[in-house]
């Protein structure tokens, strides 16, 4: 009733102008945000995965195959140790021709002061990377697109690989 009674039609023009400007601003903003949001989601998933890996490393509770391997070759890893994730960053490596997606390489920085041996650290790092890639695949439901090591991990517009963990 009030809108019909408004003889100047001012409210409607204001409304249309606001709506128009909002749409002009919102549409490109949404397009930009959706890309960033996907990357953000993948980074959050990789952090959760890396945390899973570091916990498994830290508590020295492994899958049966890994355990049997460590029992023979990396006896130090059968004992618990302190493994911390320091930070995770990424490098945008441009468009991957093979997958037609933007290729992102994750670099996880971690610390394990009690584990000195390089081969032992590699084993710990491989597990952290594995869980980070696995979590990304689970987050975007792309487990069926990749191999059993989840390497590379896929999202809708990105393909993720992992560099060797940097120990600090």
């Amino acid at each position: 009733m009030m809108v019909i009674d408004d003889i100047h039609g001012q409210l409607t023009i204001e409304f249309l102008m606001i709506l128009g400007f909002s749409l002009i601003i919102t549409i490109p903003l949404i397009m930009g945000i959706s890309g960033s949001n996907e990357l953000n989601q993948a980074m959050a998933a990789s952090r959760a995965g890396a945390l899973d890996g570091s916990l498994s490393d830290g508590l020295a509770v492994y899958s049966e195959d890994a355990f049997k391997d460590y029992e023979v070759e990396h006896l130090r890893l059968v004992n618990p140790s302190c493994v911390k994730i320091i930070k995770i960053d990424y490098i945008n490596q441009g468009l991957s021709q093979a997958y037609n997606k933007t290729k992102i390489q994750l670099r996880i920085h971690a610390s394990a002061p009690q584990v000195k041996d390089k081969a032992d650290r590699n084993c710990l790092g491989d597990r952290i990377n594995f869980y980070a890639r696995k979590k990304i695949c689970e987050s975007f439901h792309t487990e069926n697109l990749t191999n059993s090591l989840f390497n590379p991990a896929f999202s809708n517009n990105y393909v993720f690989t992992t560099a060797d963990v940097r120990w600090m």
């Binding site: 009030m2 959050a44 998933a45 959760a48 945390l51 899973d52 916990l55 498994s56 508590l59 020295a60 509770v61 492994y62 899958s63 049966e64 355990f67 029992e71 059968v78 004992n79 618990p80």
Partner: protein
């Protein structure tokens, strides 16, 4: 309340309410998705930590029994499950192995003879819900072994 909203000529309340609800839903949904992930991680961690804990507890009890001398006894109660999952503990002369959901954790212990009460096997399995008595028993005149028997 319904009347007051209808009679509001500028509809300010309605728009405010909608915008507030929109932001509230956006924030809530993102918090729920983040917290869900964290809860799953926390549960997994708790299970792994419990597995590690039971492993260390059994290894520690074996050490104490062995160090306590002949006749020293310790009673251990095994938890019914590790965060709802079944588990098995295997003890041999070099340490204690716990297996849960296809994962293994191991605690070393100082080399000593281990045996079950009934048969003289060197590898003893411990199962959930059961209570076990660890006893230091003398054998071959001057040697000792830890006998693990169900209570």
């Amino acid at each position: 309340m319904g009347n007051s909203i209808i009679s509001d000529p500028s509809a300010t309340l309605n728009i405010d309410f909608l915008i507030t609800m929109l932001f509230l839903l956006m924030i809530t949904s993102s918090i729920i998705s983040i917290s869900e992930g964290r809860f799953i991680t926390a549960e997994k961690t708790e299970q792994l930590a419990e597995a590690r804990s039971i492993c260390e507890k059994v290894a520690h009890a074996i050490e104490l029994t062995y160090c306590g001398g002949e006749g020293h006894e310790i009673r251990i109660e095994m938890p019914s499950s590790l965060k709802g999952s079944d588990y098995t503990v295997k003890v041999n002369q070099s340490g204690v192995l716990v297996m849960v959901n296809g994962k293994c954790g191991y605690s070393f212990s100082y080399l000593k003879k281990i045996s079950s009460y009934n048969n003289n096997q060197s590898e003893v399995f411990m199962f959930p819900k059961n209570s076990y008595i660890l006893r230091n028993v003398k054998f071959n005149n001057n040697s000792h072994k830890v006998v693990i028997s169900e209570d």
